[in-house]
């Protein structure tokens, strides 16, 4: 099985309105997949289709190497999820809510309830009714519930909603720990660029129902690196000087007298001096490159990311 989750040309239409259009998504085991998009971009609709809560108009979903259609019950044994809002029976305490989950997942081990509550720091509030919980506590309890049956894939829709910055940080640490210790694969949707940036090793960007880009973190880093864009009289000679005098190979020759230097960005004076001393004329030297946010804004045509 090369992919935990794969969607191909996933589409959802309501009447004449296309809410999700031809979404292709691939998630490998161990990925923390950040599903990034503005509010209303189609993230939750996509996740609902993956969870079998709504039926796709077109396209296919494969979970654990088998089509979801016709195999949903088997597949859901291996998935944990919070979609949109962690709903609980408010008249019950946390332990009872997790007990319901344990029974419906067909798990035998009752101790797993305490383990899951400990993992999210809610063991002390185990016997407190959920209606007395804050939104942040409910989010944690939702994650505890999603973890209880040791899923291989955890689908979390805006999981840090309602959490304060400290809580968000704790949650990120928890997710990383779960990937490291349990090898859980994550699909996390968010409209928060910073959250996705800090967590994910792969990012899918959805905008107005269409997947604009699916990119791994390294490639994204490369795309969003800053560099010195240098236009010189002789780029071959300039490249030689950068390697010999500046001691760097982190540059690319862009052709037509252009070079992109990714190091020594804070030393443009030194770079220009070395090039001049080597007999290379400098026509232009500009600090260029997009920040991650600028990159997304360009991609989405200027929409707002937080």
């Amino acid at each position: 099985m090369s992919y935990i989750l794969r969607t191909s040309r996933l589409t959802k239409r309501y009447g004449g309105k296309t809410v999700v259009s031809d979404v292709n998504m691939t998630i490998k085991p161990g990925d923390i997949y950040g599903f990034l998009g503005q509010n209303g971009a189609g993230k939750t609709t996509t996740l609902r289709m993956i969870m079998g809560l709504i039926h796709p108009t077109a396209g296919e979903i494969e979970l654990f190497g088998t089509p979801l259609h016709g195999n949903k019950i088997k597949a859901m044994e291996r998935v944990g999820a919070i979609i949109e809002y962690p709903g609980f029976y408010l008249n019950l305490n946390a332990a009872d809510n997790l007990e319901i989950h344990r029974r419906l997942m067909g798990m035998g081990n009752r101790e797993s309830i305490d383990d899951a509550l400990t993992a999210v720091g809610l063991l002390d509030a185990k016997h407190q009714k959920v209606k007395q919980y804050s939104l942040g506590m409910k989010q944690r309890l939702g994650i505890a519930r999603a973890l209880l049956h040791h899923p291989e894939l955890l689908i979390l829709d805006e999981p840090t909603n309602g959490l304060d910055p400290a809580g968000m940080k704790e949650m990120r640490q928890l997710f990383r720990e779960l990937v490291r210790k349990r090898g859980i694969t994550f699909l996390i949707s968010s409209h928060l660029l910073s959250e996705i940036e800090q967590l994910s090793n792969k990012i899918g960007i959805i905008h107005k129902g269409s997947m604009l880009e699916e990119i791994d973190y390294e490639s994204l880093q490369k795309k969003t690196r800053h560099y010195l864009d240098i236009r010189v009289t002789d780029e071959k000679k300039a490249a030689f000087i950068l390697e010999q005098k500046l001691g760097t190979t982190d540059y690319v020759v862009a052709g037509s007298g252009g070079l992109r230097l990714y190091e020594h960005l804070d030393e443009p004076d030194r770079v220009s001096l070395l090039l001049a001393e080597g007999g290379v004329g400098i026509r232009e030297m500009v600090l260029s490159g997009d920040s991650l946010e600028e990159y997304f804004l360009k991609l989405t045509g200027g929409g707002k990311f937080v």
Binding site: M51, H55, I73, I100, M105
Partner: protein, 256 residues
């Protein structure tokens, strides 16, 4: 299936459901106290406590209140998943939606049984106390028990209608309105003691109750029993099929 049913029962913890059960059972117990009023026979001697009459009054009360109470119970069990936004999670479990529906309906059966059982407390206690002074007519006792069992079973016939309204309306109101209407119609029908009233599906539980009535103008086997049962069976099957199809096909958009 047992685990799914058990979770439905756990979900009722700390809810107002026990009040609803008591509200259904208490009036039935109270009306049976009528049998303790001093009465005389046509011969002028003091009449004793009539168990059959107690069962009859208890049966009437429970079958009049039942449509409303059982509709409320059903609608709460079904619609709370939408109201409390737990439906997302519920439909994400590796369990077929039909199984979930059946577990919910089974939970309602449990509630109907408990309500019916509690509604018999006075008549049962009276039977036990009477047994110390004179032998209890086992035939009457069995008739009463059978009447309650049959009435409970027949009351379940209209439960899928309430379930259907609750899942479509996603709240208790449509089912409660229907239940109130059904209770009023049943009340009118039972007060008239007519045989034909059982053609109304929610009044069908009155069929075994009426068998216990004494001194009615029209007596003997009810000729409307077969058509009444047919209507009830059709109501049950159609509404149950609707529930299954709706549950299986429904798209869950926002958890509420």
């Amino acid at each position: 299936m047992f685990n799914v049913l058990l979770t439905e029962i756990i979900k009722l913890k700390n809810t107002k459901m026990h009040w609803l059960v008591l509200l259904g059972a208490i009036p039935a117990n109270l009306v049976t106290w009528y049998a303790f009023l001093p009465r005389v026979t046509p011969e002028g001697t003091r009449a004793g406590i009539d168990l059959q009459e107690m069962f009859y009054r208890q049966g009437m009360a429970i079958t009049i209140l039942g449509p409303f109470m059982f509709a409320l119970m059903t609608s709460y069990v079904v619609s709370r998943e939408y109201q409390e936004r737990t439906i997302n999670q519920l439909f994400s479990y590796p369990i077929s939606r039909t199984k979930i529906l059946f577990a919910k309906l089974a939970a309602v059966v449990v509630l109907i049984v408990i309500t019916s059982f509690l509604s018999c407390i006075t008549v049962t206690a009276t039977s036990v106390i009477m047994s110390f002074t004179k032998p209890v007519e086992m035939g009457v006792l069995w008739t009463g028990i059978r009447m309650n069992m049959l009435a409970g079973l027949l009351a379940f016939g209209t439960i899928p209608v309430s379930a259907a309204l609750s899942m479509v309306g996603k709240n208790v109101i449509p089912s409660a309105v229907l239940g109130a209407f059904a209770t009023i119609v049943t009340l009118i029908g039972e007060m008239g003691h007519g045989m034909r009233s059982i053609l109304f599906p929610w009044a069908m539980p009155y069929w075994p109750v009426r068998e216990l009535a004494q001194g009615l103008a029209e007596s003997g086997p009810n000729p409307y029993a077969v058509p009444g049962m047919t209507i009830l069976a059709a109501t049950f099957i159609v509404s149950l099929v609707f529930c299954i199809v709706y549950y299986e096909k429904a798209e869950i958009h926002s958890g509420s």
